[in-house]
Amino acid sequence: MTDQIEKLTNAQIAWRAAQDIADGAYVNLGIGFPEMVAKFQPEGREAVFHTENGVLGFGPAPAPGEEDWDLINAGKKAITLKPGAAFFHHADSFAMVRGGHLDVAILGAYEVAQTGDLANWSTGPKGVPAVGGAMDLVHGAKRVAVITEHVTKKGQPKLVERCSLPLTGVGCVTRVYTSLAVVDIEDGRFVLREKLAGLSFDDLQAQTGAELHRPGPVADLIVPEL
C-alpha cells in the first residue's frame, strides 16, 4: 500500500502540473497550493499568469520589505510585475475567466468526481462559507485541472464517483494531478495516464473512490528531484 512507497510531495505534484503548461499559455493558479505551480515552469517556457483581482503578467513575490500592498494576487500576497503586464477591473478580469480566455486553470480540491464535478469551496454548513472566484474559474479556462493529494489526511479517496461535499462546478475538471497519479476525466470516467512506478494498479484503485480506466498505456509518473 501507499505507506510503503513514497508519494509525491506537494512541490512534486506542482512540478508535474507545470510540465503540461505550454510556452505563452495564460494561466490562473488557485490560491494556496496551486500557486506553487508557477515555480516549476520548464526551461524556455514562460506562462502569463492571471489573477482575479485584475493583473495579468505578474511575477514572483518581492523581497521581504519590498512589498507594495496595492500590488497583490487573489490570495492577497504581494507580487511583482513582468514586462507586458496589464491592470484591469474586476468585471474585465472575470470576462477573461468566464469568457474562456485562459488556457489553463489549476485548482485545489476536496473531491473530484469521475463526471468532472469539483468540490473545493465548502466542507459543509459549519463555519463561515467563502467561495471567492472558484465557481467562476471552473467555467473559465479551456482546461481546468486539479492538483491534490490522492486521499484525505484520514485516508479517504478524493477521487470519487459522486462528490459528497457542496459542488463548486459541474463537469468542469478534465485532468487531476495527485500525489500518486495523473488521471484524465473523459466521458464521465477516470482514465489513468500515469502512476508511480512502485505502485500497483490495484493499490491505486484501492485508494480511488471510482473505477480507474486504462484505455491506453499508463506511464510512470516522474519523481523529480526538487
Binding site: 489573477t51 482575479e52 483581482n53 485584475g54 493583473v55 507594495d68 500592498w69 496595492d70 500590488l71 497583490i72 492577497k76 491592470f87 484591469f88 477591473h89 474586476h90 468585471a91 478580469s93 472575470f94 475567466v97 468566464r98 464535478d117 463555519g127 463561515v128 462559507p129 467563502a130 467561495v131 471567492g132 472566484g133 472558484a134 465557481m135 467562476d136 467555467h139 473559465g140 457542496p166 459542488l167 463548486t168 462546478g169 459541474v170
Partner: protein, 240 residues
Amino acid sequence: MDKTLPSLAEAVAGIEDGATVMIGGFGGSGAPIELIHALIDRYLATGHPKGLTIVNNNAGNGHVGIAAMIEQGMVAKMICSFPRSADPRVFTELYLSGKIELELVPQGTLAERIRAGGAGIPAFYTPTGYGTELANGKPVEEFDGKHYIRERWLKADVALIKAEIGDTMGNLTYRMAARNFAPLMATAAERTIVQVTKLVAPGGIDPEAVITPGLFVDGLVEVATPAQEEALNRAEAHHP
C-alpha cells in the same frame, strides 16, 4: 463644475440608516480607509448610519476599515464573495451568533452584477454556480446545449471608493491592483464618493488614461497620504 468636498466628514454626511453601501477594495488594496473611518466616526458621534448593507469582496480584516464598521455594530448585512481574511474574527463571531446576515456571491458574479447595475442590464445569464447550492432558487436556462443561471443586477445607494488621481470633474485613475471593484461600484451607486490621493484640475488627466469618467462621480475629497489597510493590520491598528 467642481465636485470636490471640503472634508471627509462632509463626504460621508448623506449616508442614511439602512443604506446599501458599496465599498471598493480587494483585501487591503483599494480600501478607502479614511472614508470608512469618517463614517465610523459619524456613527459613534450620532448613532447613524446604522443597519447598513455593505458590498465588498471581503468582510473585513482585523479591526480597521470594514471590520471596524462591523465591530461597531453599523452593519446588518454583508454581500461578498470571501468573508475570510488573515483576521476575520469580527465578522466571524457576529455571523456565527446570527447577528449579521451574509449573502455569499461568487466573485465574478459579484463583479458582473455590479457592472450590470451600472449598465442598465437588470439580469444576465452565467455558467458560474450552475448546479451548486449558490444557484438555489435562481432560474436556469439552456443556451446552445449548456446550462446557465440567471443573476440580477446589484445597485447601491452609495459607493465609497479610493482612487489615485482625480480631477475636480470626477475623472479618476487608480493605482495598480487597487483598481479592482472601484470602477464598477462607481457606476452602480446612486451617489459615488471618492477619496483621491491627488486632486488635479480638469485637463490634469490624459483623456486616454481616465478609467472612471467623471459622470459616475458625485463627490471627491483629497486624502494625500492614505493609510493602507494591509499595513494597518500588520501594525495591529484599531479604529477608533
